[in-house]
Assembly symmetry: C2
Homo-oligomer: 307 residues x 2
């Protein structure tokens, strides 16, 4: 089977400019070798990548390793403020992954509902949609969608919008992180989840999505599934401990996980989309001709030390 | 978060007829409690369920447990015949899971390419599409799709078709099982894979899909991811042993895993689809109004001993 993976592989050379993207396309065409995503990333410039803001990046430490989560403060400001306050109060440190439902979500929270919620954190209004002012920031893709009139990206996250109502919202692709809630629409951020299965798009606009896992999702996706209803762990299954959930800015620089994310507004990213839409590799006998939003790769790479 | 899971939960009572499905809807409406999938399954009759043919069911035994795979002999007859011949020759017994790529596939094969392929098994023609004669068996759903003109079910498996060419094919939803291949379109079945992530629909019509995992997918989805390219295990990561891959019919009846699958042509199944499309539970503040093919649940239940 063909490789669908390339994330986290730093291109050997990243000095080319947009003209080189086109150059790569031309060269590949000349030698009849189809352009790969790796070729496109190798043609990217440093300006095509952005460094997630440490002030809006979470490090979730499990026994198996660190997950890096990029928050979306412009999309869900109230929930992101709560989550950051919770992290700074060490609220999640020593709590647990309480639910792992196959092909759905991992959820972490206070399994005993005993830990007091720190001052300044309370139920906040639903942030299912972003503010209307986000609408012009939305970057559409031309592909169809089952659930939304238009799909694309907002602040680097997979998103959708409705041109009639000017609503814009993040969507539940693999690795997206949200805030659980009970029946009322409000939530406080003390119950968080990440998608580890086929995109459950039916819950779009029903929960506040607050970011996505940039690195380490496999520490969630390989966890034992809970045998209780909805995948909750039940005795004698031990909940998986959350060693800590910290804000990257609060971690000494030498202990951070430096990452870069390809800009969704870059020409390289649009070239990646086209490559994924129209598969020219010889392995492909049928060209899909389309790409579904949640199948679009969002390249992330490590920054080597000293950069 | 709301429950999206119900598979494998045997309804307490399964004696009602279609009239009862409607009865359930009416009753729920009278008490203003929305119908759940569990309600619908409880209203099903024994005739709404089918028992997969043991002659076309695989038991894949991993150290952690047994996966049950239903084959699709009418869709990919050449590959299914090969796979059954391989199983009966004990070809896969003692081989290994060689690749686990996060959000993509688990693949099992001969890691050393040393084991001789049994007589009677050879490369067979591509079965990316089913025979055209399958077209009338296709059961469409009214929902949109990103990749195909029409989606629905074929022989109980998620499928798509093109009304212009009368092509019909199985699609890569979570849990679907296919046959890996190299660049030529032919394959022999000695390299198999299962989808453990967001549906990689871009490879539809590019490989022979041969069935789906009915039970035990978590034994695949929780496996450690391989650190090699494309998720292949590389030393010192030990490949996960395949203890055996057998045909259910070859296993003594007392050692089988008796399962029933809800018929996709049943009225109950159509009611389940409607329930999933239009979410009336109070938790849902925004009704999706659509359902994507790979988000449609395909209920499977255990048959209690003695039935």
């Amino acid at each position: 089977m063909i490789d669908e993976s390339f994330a986290n592989s730093r291109a050997a050379s990243a000095v080319a400019a947009l003209v080189l993207v086109l150059g790569v396309l031309a060269a590949a065409s000349a030698v009849a070798r189809p352009v790969t995503v790796a070729d496109l990333l190798a043609s990217s410039t440093p300006q095509d990548w952005r460094k997630p803001d440490p002030e809006n990046t979470l490090y979730l430490q499990l026994p198996a390793g660190r997950l890096v989560i990029e928050l979306a403060p412009r999309v869900a400001p109230l929930h992101v403020a709560n989550i950051k306050a919770l992290a700074r109060a060490h609220y999640f440190d020593g709590l647990a992954v309480v639910r792992v439902q196959d092909n759905y979500v991992v959820q972490w929270a206070d399994p005993d509902h005993h830990r007091p919620v720190p001052q300044g954190v309370s139920l906040v209004a639903a942030e299912f949609d972003a503010e209307k002012s986000a609408y012009p920031r939305f970057e559409p893709v031309p592909d169809r969608d089952v659930y939304a009139p238009e799909v694309g990206f907002l602040d680097g996250f997979p998103a959708a919008r409705d041109p009639h109502t000017h609503a814009v919202w993040l969507v539940h692709c693999y690795g997206m992180v949200g805030v659980g809630r009970d029946d009322p629409p409000e939530s406080d951020g003390t119950e968080m989840y990440a998608v580890i299965g086929h995109a459950p798009r039916q819950i779009d606009r029903n929960v506040a999505l607050v970011g996505r896992v940039l690195k380490g999702i496999e520490f969630f996706s390989t966890l034992p599934r809970g045998s209780g209803e909805m995948g909750f762990y039940v005795a004698p299954e031990p909940p998986v401990p959350i060693i800590s959930m910290k804000i990257a800015a609060d971690v000494p620089e030498a202990e951070r996980t430096p990452l870069e994310v390809l800009r969704t507004e870059s020409a390289v990213f649009r070239a990646v989309l086209d490559q994924r839409r129209n598969r020219r590799e010889s392995w492909f006998k049928f060209n899909p001709g389309h790409i579904e939003l949640c199948n679009i790769p969002l390249p992330v790479r490590s920054i080597p030390a000293g950069h």
